[in-house]
Structures are given as C-alpha cells and as structure tokens.
C-alpha cells in the first residue's frame, strides 16, 4: 500500500492492479490506470476528508485462498473490507463515505464463459447489499478501458476513457 507524504504540492499516487491506497493528504490525487475487466473502487469521507482507491481484479477469494492472504486487494470479498478498514484507521465513517465504481468491461460474449467483468460487479453489489452500503455513482461494463482518479481535496472522481480525449467527472 502506498503511503503519500504531505508536500504542499499536488501529487499523483498511482495504484497498481490488485492494490489499494488510502490517504488524508489533500495534496494527493489517487490514480489507477488500465481498468479492463477489473473494478476501480473509490471511497471518500467529505467530513474527515479521507479517501481511498482500490483496483481489484477478480470476484471471489475462493479462486486462490493463498493469493488472497498475501494480496487481499486482488479480490472483491477481501479487497473491499481491506479498503474500508484502512480508511477507518484514518477516521473515515462507514455511513459518511461516498463510493464510486468504474471498470468491469465485457467482451462481446453470449457464452458467459468470459464474463469476469460482470461477475466482479455482481460480487461487489452482493457484498454492498449485505453491509448496507450504497454506490453513489458508477460507470461499469461496456467495451472500454478506463483510468480513474480521486482528488482528495475535493472528493471529485474523474474518468479517462482510452481512445477518447479528456477526463469526465463521475
């Protein structure tokens, strides 16, 4: 997990595939590139001004228990709790945080053999329902590769779609 330091300058902290970061440093913009079938999950507490970004890869830690123990960020059911716990350490509140989700792209597939993107999104929704959590905004599915940013000063979440110019707010 990346731990940014307070510098007074706007700094981009890049979160890799199957990784997450949290921070209460308003200088920081958390960014994750290359969300394909993976999901990017941001949370932000506007009062505590704490935010986090998770880049998860697969729906269920049952796929590889040993990997999940070593790297919980890889899976929905271990990554989401890890993200929330890290944010609570920085005094984020469960019912104050706003969650945004992006990614989960899908190929053109009627066979349902290649539906990792959709399964990631479904697993996240099941988990959120179990814990009474809501997603404030999402941009999930489709044929596109996305980059996701969270500005920790404002809580603003933006997306960049591969092959299209500019960033759009989510």
């Amino acid at each position: 997990m990346a731990v940014p330091v307070l510098t007074g300058f706007s700094q981009k902290v890049v979160v890799g595939v199957a990784d997450f970061a949290v921070s209460n440093n308003p200088d920081v913009i958390l960014t994750t590139y290359s969300l394909g079938s993976c999901l990017g999950v941001t949370l932000y507490d506007p009062v505590a001004r704490v935010g986090g970004l998770l880049h998860l890869m697969l729906p269920d830690s049952e796929i590889d228990r040993a990997k999940a123990a070593e790297n919980p960020a890889m899976f929905v059911d271990t990554g989401i709790p890890a993200l929330f716990r890290a944010a609570y350490e920085l005094h984020a509140d469960k019912y104050r945080v706003e969650v945004c989700v992006a990614g989960g792209a899908q190929i053109m597939d009627n066979s349902h053999f290649f539906n990792i993107g959709r399964r990631n999104w479904e697993a996240l929704n099941v988990l959120f329902a179990q814990h009474g959590l809501k997603v404030r905004a999402s941009d999930v599915g489709g044929l596109v590769n996305r980059t996701m940013n969270l500005n920790l000063e404002t809580g603003e979440v933006t997306l960049k779609i591969s092959g299209k110019p500019g960033e759009t707010p989510l």
Partner: protein, 282 residues
Amino acid sequence: MKELDDYINQTQNLPPAPRVLPELLALLNHPDSDSRRVVNLIQVDPSLTAQVLRASNSVFYAGATPTLDLREAVSRLGFSTIGQIVAAATGSRALGRSQKGYGLDEGELWQHSVTSAVAAQVIARDCGLDQSLAFTAALLHDLGKIVLSGALEQRYEDLVSSVEQQQQSLVEAEQRLLGVNHAEVGGRLLARWKFPAPLVTAVWFHHQPKSAAPHGRLASCVYLANMIAYFLGRGYGRSAFALRGREEALTLLDVSADRIPHYMIETHARFTEVEALFSIRS
C-alpha cells in the same frame, strides 16, 4: 491477393522482414541445437545483437556481473529467454509506434503485445503447448494492425460507429470497411516473412480459433492470451473489448472457464517480466 498487397505497399514505417527470428524459432525448436549456431545467427544483425546484450544486462535479467559477450549471455540466460528477448527486440520495431487508425498511442500496442505474450506462455505451459512459439505468436498477433492503421485513420469515425452503434466486433468492422481484417493481414505478412506455419496460422485465426486447424490449440492459446491482456487493462484504443467470445477456444485447449482467473493471476504475477520486455524497444 491484391487488396492486401496494396495495403502493405502503402504502409509507411513497415519494418524490413526480420531475418533472424524465424530461423531462430526453428533452431530453438530442436533440443539438440548448438548454442554456437544461435550466437552466429543473432550476430548477423548488429543492432539486434546490441539490443540482446543491453536487455541481458538489464536489472530483470542480469546476474551479478554484466556481460559484453553474446555467447556468455546465451549460455547464462538459456535458449528460451534469449529467444524471448530476440522476439521482443524484433517485435518492438514494428509494434512500438502509435497506430492512429485504432486510436492507439505510442507504446500502447507494444504494452498489449508483451502482456499477451507472457499470458500465452502461462497458458501454453498449463496446456502442454510449445512455450516459445506461443510467446512469439501472441507477441506478434496484432502485427496486421500496423498495416491497416493508415487506411482506418481516414475512416476512424466509421470504425467507431460500426462498433458502438452497430455492435460489430473490431474484426467485423474492419472486414466491412476494408474487405480485410488485421488477423488475416498479420498472418499473411508473417507467412511472407517465412515464420513457421503454426505461428502464421495462430495469428491469422486468433479471433476464430475453430478455423485454425491443425493449429487450433495454438490459435486458442493466442485468443485467450489476447483476451487476458484486455482483462488486465493492457488493451487500449476506443472500444478495446470489441471482440467475440469463442467458447471453442476452451474446448480446443481442453480447459474449463474456471482456469481463466488463474491465468490472470499468473500473468499479473509476471508483470515485472512484462515491464522488462516492454523496455526492450528500439
């Protein structure tokens, strides 16, 4: 085939036919190959030799002491790693640039290619296929895009609307707009360059593995590797995911869909190697 020749002749920056790689693949395929023959073959191309030495001494591959001697590099890293480095050095000459007709910025096609290559090796090992051949086929699977990009640049909006409005796959859209598709063009170009027949066929049919007989398993491996690179976010351009699900790829490889997440995990675990291959650029 006239259209194809037209496209190839119009392509600017098409690299010269690689001389070393097709021969090297044949050489590596024989377990009793002599390392002197491998060294002699690579030395035919001085800039390739320099790239192989530079890569051999990079952080990822280097041992305790750097080497300036190709023979030593070959004996230290082994045939298969040297083969990968030569493939990457060769492939990067063609695939490193931006391809505007596909909305691909500089380095993006190359990043996709090296990720696919490593994924193909993961799958090949699991399915008992030739790993060097799978690696190289996946590395070069989108070669046809560098030929068609120029023609698609003028029709980019048509391409985008074919995919986004009419729900056509990229291959279908290319076929409709140009009468050819990047997989076939890549296969034909590699055949012209005298690459081994299984590799040519696997590239040609990497979106239709069922039609690749007798090399359906290798084509299926490249098909899945390509898809895994997209899943892991190493596929770019607008509507990168415009490819069809081909369940026959699983049947041909005799694996269940449950293996796909494992292939993703293993490929992700080898991202450092992907980066090392990515940096082998001329």
